[in-house]
């Protein structure tokens, strides 16, 4: 599975990538904000999953999500949003914008797996 990890903080990208690797995902790519992620997604066209931070310079995670959903080629891409808080308002906005799941920092590989399982369950269901 080809996964794109988007975060402006490279340490965080590394952490997320390490956790994904722990879960057995190998095909991992990264981008440092929405504005760089979007063309990457659009040009490659073969990403299977998107993990994005919310708070980033340039293009925010939520805007990336909206852009992804607005792109006919990407609108089916499952998106997991990484946030710092469990703010209802934010989550609701994300949900309404088409997010598939969210995960609150800091998290473990187990939590991440749970979230991923849930997302795929929903897609398959």
């Amino acid at each position: 599975m080809k996964i794109l990890v988007v975060d402006d903080f490279s340490t965080m990208r590394r952490i997320v990538k390490n956790l994904l690797k722990e879960l057995g995902f190998e095909n991992l790519h990264e981008a440092d904000d929405g504005a760089t992620a979007l063309p990457l997604l659009q040009d490659a066209g073969d990403f299977d999953f998107l993990v994005t931070d919310w708070n980033m310079p340039g293009m925010q995670g939520i805007d990336l999500l909206k852009a992804v959903r607005a792109d006919p080629n990407l609108c089916k891409l499952p998106v997991l949003m990484v946030t710092a808080e469990q703010k209802r308002e934010q989550i609701v906005e994300a949900a309404q914008s088409g997010v598939n799941g969210y995960i609150v920092k800091p998290f473990t590989a187990a939590t991440l797996k749970e979230k991923l399982d849930k997302i795929f369950e929903r897609i398959d269901g």
Partner: protein, 683 residues
């Protein structure tokens, strides 16, 4: 800490978050100058936010807590609910210091102590909107529920985030906006799950009756709040699941249902909400920083590795030097060509490797706005700091090594240079003094300038002081020219301020500054004009690893003199020297220059050697003084790689290190100031 993280990630975090922290320091000082800069507020907010997020992963709860409360403050600030003032800055600025300390702790392997609860409380007290600008009080937010589309329409261009929040709050039958601020207080509420009916109604409102309901939608804000206000503003796992179910049908994924409706659709189908979406987008804009995202074109490398590479290149340079020397004697043409080629490639390699170690001086300059601000505030002076040439690159080790001397000189400029505002006014100057800190590359060295427009130095006062302190007698003092007088401030135990301020040291500083700069093979000069200001000029080599030297021979041993200190070379008739004050001198262009025989100092058993009639003299400068060294032979210039002396020889006075010369011999590199101190007992 929940995850088993290898150290590497922690190290990464320390480096990267450390950079963010340094940036925060600068940004905070900038912020005081332009408190309304939205981009800056956002950048600071994001800085704290990012450090917090990373710290959470590596289990540094003390960092998380502190960053969290700072982040809250900046969230309020960037939403315009509070303005930046000096009081707030005084509370926030120490946060970066504490964070720095915590970083230091972590680097040292100590789990940092949680920040002082009092400070946390103080900062938290700033994380409230100012009383007069609470969202509820914003006039536009007053209208009742169904009037909102209009109200947001009229303000579509300049609606702010908190107005928007207020509108949302107003829409939920009297729920107070306090919910926003007090996240931990659950409001007594009916149900915290959004119901199917409510959701249907919401979608109807958004898209018009009966339209497609499962589309991912950017603009459903008015109805999201009923659920948001119902209990706490944190969402639970189950709620999220329920929400997804509601949005997309039980168990279905948004990707399977949402595909048919592009985001533009609601605009056409439901005007009011589309308008709101636009309004919302307007408010989002300031949140985006201006700078373009940077593609990852860099790799982090351990400095140790660079040091190793540098060292190996050093060895290569030595071999190159040997081969070049051989070429000069007798080699065949082909070989000579190859050696010439090697020469070019080695030089390029040397330069490239040197460049990998270069860092912009900005890294050091960055801390000065804060230093100057704090100092000026505590001295009640008005000082503005100007920086120039921050992009100038300099060897990493040098950047670190020059930081302390620079801080000292800048503090000095603010403390001793710039006068009190009233005094300045009396002299017809602007109340605000200026300190200019600049860097530029000049050939193979870097020139750092610290300039103030303050009182300047009075040579006469310095002379008197020197006599008072017993540093020299009156005659000697009278002989000093102005420049020499200024240099007196570098003498140990010399301080011209009558009262010692705890700000810029107790007279132990300046001599240390000078010796530190000298250790870096640099030099410092002072220019000053009474009443106009002073200027300190520091010259530093670009790198510490490779040193251009003048090779000389004493007896049958080779020695290297750092070329930076060499002024001129000439031959002279050694019998035509004069003696002044018991010191042998040579007259160079009308000035007496003390003359020393290096052989007597450095070569065993040559103290009594018969003097020859003519000799080579190398004039070197230490600070602004000149000294002549008599040497036996001059070999020429050579770029040498400095190798430290073995442990047995560590601390040998007057020797900075050793190197392998072109002919494969070992040459000692002389440390001129130290050598003079050790052998001549002066300077």
């Amino acid at each position: 800490m929940a995850i088993d993280l290898d150290d590497e990630i922690l190290q990464d975090f320390l480096v990267e978050a450390g950079e963010i922290l340094d940036q925060l320091g600068e940004q905070l000082v900038d912020l005081e100058q332009s408190p309304d800069d939205k981009d800056l507020l956002n950048a600071v907010f994001r800085g704290f936010h990012t450090i917090k997020g990373g710290a959470g992963f590596v289990g540094l709860t003390a960092l998380v807590e502190l960053c969290h409360c700072a982040e809250d403050v900046f969230n309020i600030l960037r939403n315009g609910d509070r303005a930046v003032d000096a009081e707030l800055m005084d509370a926030i600025l120490p946060v970066t210091d504490i964070l720095q300390d915590m970083f230091e702790n972590v680097r040292a392997g100590v789990d940092p102590e949680p920040a002082d609860p009092e400070l946390i409380a103080l900062i938290a007290s700033f994380a409230q909107p100012n009383a007069d600008s609470t969202p509820a009080a914003v006039p536009e937010s007053a209208p009742v529920e169904q009037a909102q589309p209009e109200s947001s329409e009229t303000n579509a261009d300049d609606i702010t985030d908190e107005e928007f929040e207020a509108i949302l709050d107003a829409s939920q039958s009297g729920k107070s906006s306090a919910v926003e601020q007090q996240s931990e207080t659950p409001a007594p509420a009916a149900s915290d799950d959004i119901t199917d009916d409510e959701f249907e109604a919401l979608l109807d409102e958004m898209h018009g009756e009966g339209k497609f309901a499962g589309a991912p939608e950017a603009s459903a804000p008015e109805k999201e709040t009923p659920s948001a206000a119902s209990q706490s503003d944190e969402i639970s796992e189950d709620e999220f699941d329920a929400l997804l179910d509601d949005l997309h049908g039980k168990g279905a994924s948004p990707t399977s249902t949402g595909s048919s409706t592009p985001a533009e659709k609601p605009k056409a189908s439901a005007k009011p909400s589309a308008k709101k979406a636009e309004a919302k987008k307007e408010t989002k804009k300031p949140a985006k920083a201006k700078e373009a995202p940077q593609a990852e074109a860099t790799v982090r490398v351990d400095t140790k590795r660079l040091d190793d590479i540098m060292n190996m290149v050093g060895e290569l340079v030595l071999v190159r030097n040997r081969l070049s020397r051989l070429k000069a004697s007798d080699v065949e043409d082909d070989m000579s060509l190859a050696i010439g080629n090697l020469d070019v490639v080695t030089t390029d390699l040397q330069i490239s490797v040197m460049k990998t170690r270069m860092q912009p001086i900005k890294k050091v300059f960055g801390r000065f706005p804060r230093v100057v601000r704090d100092l000026a505030r505590s001295l009640k002076k008005e000082v503005s700091l100007e920086l120039a040439g921050e992009e100038t690159d300099l060897d990493k080790n040098l950047v670190e090594a020059i930081a302390d001397p620079l801080v000292h000189l800048v503090r000095n400029a603010v403390d001793h240079g710039v006068e009190m505002p009233d005094e300045r006014e009396k002299k017809g100057k602007a109340r605000q003094g200026t300190v200019l800190l600049s860097a530029e590359q000049e050939g193979d060295h870097i020139l750092l300038t610290i300039e103030d427009d303050g009182a300047g130095m009075d040579a006469e006062v310095l002379r008197k002081k020197a006599v008072e302190k017993g540093l020299m007698d009156e005659d000697a003092a009278a002989r000093l020219d102005d420049r020499d007088c200024f240099n007196l401030i570098f003498a140990p135990g010399f301080s011209t301020k009558q009262e010692i301020s705890d700000v810029s040291g107790r007279g132990v500083g300046m001599d240390v500054v000078k010796s530190r700069i000298a250790q870096l093979n640099g030099s410092v000069e002072i220019e000053s004009q009474l009443g106009k200001g002073s200027r300190f000029l520091i010259k530093l080599p670009l790198t510490l690893a490779i040193l251009p030297t003048l090779m000389v021979v004493l007896g049958n041993q080779t020695f290297a003199l750092p070329l930076t200190s060499v002024n001129e070379i000439f031959d002279m008739d050694i019998t035509k020297t004069n003696v002044v004050d018991g010191q042998e001198v040579v007259i160079v262009r009308g000035k007496a220059v003390p003359l020393f025989y290096l052989r007597k100092w450095l070569v065993n058993g040559s103290a009594s050697a018969a003097e020859r009639e003519s000799a080579h003299v190398v004039i070197v400068s230490i600070g602004n003084q000149h000294v002549g060294f008599v040497v036996d032979q001059l070999l020429g210039q050579e770029e040498v790689v400095i190798k430290p002396l073995g442990t047995m020889l560590h601390g040998t006075k007057g020797v900075a290190g050793a190197t392998v010369t072109g002919d494969g011999k070992i040459a000692l590199i002389l440390d001129v100031p130290e050598m003079l101190q050790a052998y001549a007992g002066r300077f």
